[in-house]
């Protein structure tokens, strides 16, 4: 196991409700406490952004830039093995972001991935089990890019190819009656590339699901005494797609695209590929979605997150744990269990509206958050 990276300092400029912020952190537990809407989640969101190049709350970057300004800045000093590294990202709404490592610009923002790694527990986690497939795809992808930063490029390229191909399908739907051969020829050009990248994403996600499975199962067993175990399957949009290797998956995707060409042209969208996959969660004999109780759903969500933490820890080093307002959501036993699990982590960032929400076991540095200011208070 490598030594963990610790975030020692955060600077923000025009990020969310922060006009300007400097806050120094120590290893161990830091709690950010303050009334609703003061900027607690915004602060940890900035740290999360450095780890995944996305917010854990919103899909687009626009809300991250302080209203009335054009550009937000997140900068962090990260220490690992007594070596300090500064990472910085500049977010401009509607434009490409820019990043720097130790003040030198990097050609691509995604080169900062892997420096700060996080696992986030948040009230929104319930959507992991109850929400749309998109939530679960994002869950897998956020973990993937932290483990293999290169995949962030694959994801971005895949999204762009998908847009190109969908635009073509829409316009080709009309043209195919006049010139069907031309339509096929231009579509195939995109099929090639999209199948290659799609196969890579599919196989990586499936491998990740396999790695998470045993870890989630044991985390779930610790959380709940009942006999049911949590399990999941990576479900591809193409039935029985070979996900064992990239070449086989690519062939399978190409075949499925050829087979569904007519449907795709009718509907003007790409119907096969990882953008339509899901992670199917089950609890004993039944799917979690639609069957599990509220408590079971929470336990399932927590065990998925704990599995991420365990995996990252085993593979490299413990990530920064971020607990955004979760304790208020949990019952006493789950709260105690989670607290026990995270108390020894190298770095934990907690937000809570009132100090009493933070379990006694997680006593650490306290910060008051008030209207875009953060003060150390214990």
């Amino acid at each position: 196991m490598d030594s963990p990276a610790i975030v020692r300092h955060i600077s923000l400029a025009d990020f969310r409700n922060y006009e300007h912020l400097e806050v120094s952190l120590e290893p161990g537990i830091s709690s950010f406490v303050g009334r609703n809407g003061q900027g607690k989640t915004n602060l940890i969101e900035a740290v999360v952004y450095l780890s995944t190049l996305g917010s854990h709350r919103v899909a687009s970057d626009a809300p991250l830039v302080r209203r009335g300004t054009e550009r937000a800045l997140i900068r962090a000093d990260v220490v690992r093995d007594d070596r300090s590294l500064q990472v910085e990202v500049e977010i401009t709404a509607g434009k490409a972001n820019r990043a720097r490592i130790n003040k030198s610009p990097v050609p691509r923002t995604r080169e900062i991935l892997g420096i700060v790694r996080t696992v986030v527990f948040a009230p929104e986690d319930l959507a992991l089990v109850k929400g749309d497939p998109a939530e679960r795809r994002r869950f897998l992808d956020d973990l993937l890019v932290q483990r293999h930063p290169r995949l962030a490029g694959t994801r971005a390229d895949y999204d762009r190819l998908l847009k190109q191909r969908n635009a073509l399908l829409k316009s080709a739907g009309a043209a195919r009656r006049t010139n069907p051969q031309d339509v096929t020829r231009t579509l195939e050009v995109w099929d090639d590339q999209i199948a290659s990248l799609g196969a890579e994403i599919t196989v990586s996600r499936r491998e990740l699901a396999d790695l998470l499975r045993p870890r989630a199962a044991s985390a779930y067993a610790e959380l709940i005494d009942s006999g049911d175990t949590i399990d999941f399957d990576y479900e591809t949009s193409v039935p029985h797609l070979a996900t064992t290797d990239i070449v086989a998956a690519r062939e399978g995707l190409l075949a499925a695209m050829a087979e569904r060409r007519r449907d795709e042209l009718d509907r003007g969208v790409t119907l096969v590929g990882p953008h339509r996959d899901d992670l199917l969660l089950t609890l004993g004999p039944a799917p979690v979605k639609g069957y599990a109780s509220h408590g079971e759903s929470w336990s399932a969500a927590l065990s998925l997150r704990l599995a991420c933490y365990d995996l990252l820890t085993e593979e490299a080093a413990p990530p920064v744990l971020v607990l955004d307002d979760v304790f208020a959501e949990l019952d006493a036993s789950r709260r105690a269990h989670l607290a026990g699990r995270v108390a020894q982590a190298p770095q934990v960032l907690i937000t809570a509206a009132v100090a009493e929400d933070v379990p006694a076991l997680l006593e650490g540095a306290r910060f008051d958050v008030m209207d875009g200011t953060v003060e150390r208070c214990g």
């Binding site: 050609p107 691509r108 490029g153 390229d157 762009r160 190819l161 847009k163 190109q164 191909r165 635009a167 073509l168 316009s171 031309d182 020829r185 231009t186 195939e188 050009v189 995109w190 090639d192 590339q193």
Partner: protein
């Protein structure tokens, strides 16, 4: 915010590639404060460039005559044709000094989002040039990004039945970028190590 003609100037400048509203404003005010003779010279160049400069009737490269310097040069190897997206890519490849053949400028890359399909590129003109059988190798030097790659695949498939050697620049170019951003050495190396494209 600004009245009439000043607003028009800012609008027009803002339409140029790479110029945002702030830069447009900065350039506008720079022009307003400049020497009238300087501004007149700039305006004249803008007008003449549109009048005088045309696209080579053969390859599509910018020129002030009917055909470009490269197409007119008898010493160029007329069996090799390098296909690029834009005129600026011709300049980039020329700088490497690695290539002695001729060019074909497509005028862009396939990009459905922007409504650009194969018919909007100078592909028909390319096929026309191949009819006399003189060209034996086509080097596809479209940009190393998704659209450039798609265009290359399209061309490879289209040209495969014609029995030509179709090659693509070797990897090693900064992926995702423009051809023109690659430095001369890298681009030259990519040229030397070009590989056959399988359709």
């Amino acid at each position: 915010m600004y009245d009439g003609v000043v607003a028009d100037l800012i609008d027009e400048l803002g339409r140029l590639p790479g110029i945002g509203p702030k830069s447009a404003q900065r350039i506008a005010f720079y022009l307003l404060q400049s020497d009238p003779a300087d501004v007149r010279r700039l305006a004249e160049v803008l007008v003449t460039v549109k009048d005088k400069v045309r696209f080579c009737a053969i390859c599509g490269h910018v020129t002030d005559e009917e055909t470009c310097r490269i197409c007119r040069d008898p010493r160029r190897d007329s069996t090799a044709l390098c296909v690029v997206e834009e005129s600026k890519d011709v300049i980039a490849v020329e700088k490497t000094g690695e290539y002695r053949g001729r060019y074909h400028v497509l005028g862009g890359a396939i990009s459905p989002i922007d409504g650009i399909g194969p018919d909007d590129l100078r592909i028909r003109e390319l096929l026309q040039r191949l009819t006399d059988g003189e060209v034996t190798e086509i080097i596809v030097a479209t940009d190393p990004n998704l659209e450039g790659e798609a265009t290359a695949t399209y061309l490879a498939r289209l040209l495969a039945p014609m029995g030509l050697t179709v090659t693509r620049l070797a990897s090693g170019l900064p992926v995702g970028g423009d051809l023109e951003y690659a430095d001369e050495v890298t681009l030259g190396r990519a040229f030397a190590g070009r590989r056959r494209l399988d359709a």
